[in-house]
């Protein structure tokens, strides 16, 4: 049998690889974000009544299809915005805690690096972009998302005519096989930006309102720019009630929840 040495010199290869990595670190490139905006949402849990007006508004604004009873029962319902209910206490002293949950627009989003095609990526303004046309439907982002706020089009969505006439022309109608999620109503952000630019002025606080915030009767949802220290969002984010969902995972979410002041400690409100 063959007895000669294998001169595939592992030492040499290791050296070469080390050299490459060293060279590489000199050219590692992070695109410096000059983002003037850092869009964020504040959810005041004290104000939320769980009325789900935001859910309906979101469906209407963003062309989110309803999948029908059967599919919804399977767990394929799509609500970019949902109001999670958690129950506290024993009957009859039960209290329901509502938490509106939608895409947290994390700064260190787990959904972004796992997407093989950049369909899920970080935008210059710090949003978690979802590019439908680039999505090939690996659903990896949905698995990686700790908040379960990503939704998949298992079938082509269908609108019974003439309901299709109420589809929002500023928002894509997604087709089968792509992921979708809350965009912070990016179409509204874009429209406001274009208008502001046409008027040759800067965006000011309150120019942009996502559909959910706009429709929230008790004004539990506040949207704005976290980089603007004068904005309402910045003010509320500084509250000592401010917390973030699953903060311990290090995802740096840009949705700030204001905890209920009165409970959580078992005291009557």
């Amino acid at each position: 049998m063959q007895r000669h040495d294998a001169p595939l010199d592992s030492g040499l290869s290791t050296l070469a690889i080390l050299l490459l990595v060293t060279c590489h670190s000199s050219m590692v490139q992070t695109m410096e974000s000059k983002a003037q905006k850092k869009w964020a949402m504040v959810v005041d849990l004290d104000r939320c009544t769980g009325c789900e007006a935001c859910v309906v508004a979101c469906h209407a604004e963003n062309n989110i299809p309803t999948v029908g009873e059967e599919q919804a029962a399977m767990g394929r319902a799509m609500h970019w915005m949902r109001v999670e209910r958690y129950y506290q206490g024993d009957f009859p002293n039960v209290r329901v805690k509502f938490i509106p949950v939608f895409c947290q627009q994390c700064d260190a989003a787990p959904c972004e690096p796992v997407c093989p095609t950049y369909a899920s990526y970080h935008t210059a303004e710090g949003l978690n972009g979802q590019v439908y046309n680039r999505c090939i439907g690996t659903r990896y982002c949905a698995n990686a998302c700790p908040y379960n706020v990503r939704f998949f089009n298992f079938y082509n969505p269908v609108w019974e005519k003439p309901l299709h006439l109420q589809l929002n022309p500023d928002v894509s109608v997604r087709e089968v096989g792509v992921m979708e999620k809350c965009t912070f109503c990016v179409q509204r952000i874009k429209a406001a930006e274009i208008t502001a630019k046409a008027d040759k002025r800067e965006l000011k606080d309150g120019d942009v309102q996502p559909a959910c915030a706009q429709s929230c009767p008790p004004k539990a949802l506040v949207f704005g720019d976290l980089n603007d220290p004068t904005s309402e969002v910045s003010r509320l984010a500084g509250s000592n009630r401010a917390t973030r969902l699953l903060e311990e995972l290090g995802t740096k979410p840009k949705v700030i929840y204001l905890q209920r002041e009165s409970w959580g400690d078992g005291k009557e409100s």
Binding site: L8, A35, Y121
Partner: protein, 175 residues
Amino acid sequence: MQAVYGLYSDPSRAQRAFDSLRAAGVEEHGIAVVSSVPWEEYEFARRDRRTPMAWLAALGGLLGGVSGYLLAGLTQKAYPIPTGGMAINVPWTNGIITYELTMLGAILVTLITLLISAHIPDWTPRVYDPAVADGCILVGVVNPRHDSRVEIERSLREAGADSIKEANVTNRWRI
């Protein structure tokens, strides 16, 4: 092309034929040997053992690694996608691509080196005998000098050949 060869069922006889051919003045590289098994312990099969294949494989690995590095690193730099401050060109993950392409480079270069240096595929006329498939070893001379022919045949026979054949290697090789 003319060839004279003997078929040997026993490798030590083939070795003897090989030795006596050399003694008869045939150059070592002029002796054709064909066998169905790599008789590596015998000298007749130990020709042409030196090959830079392993070094070439290492080189191929290096080449593959560099191309992997360029693919993962430079292309992302050439096609920058705005990622809002997130790194798009990451050494650790690029290292994985570099690693895989290093291995691929080594594999491909080994393969190519094998094909080229072992003359595969080869459809040109060569000396061959189907009896090799039955375990015979073919030892012979291609295009012998006319005057040495008799001596070659004698050497082959005396080494204990099962049969001595003269062949005209003109047919298109085996297909």
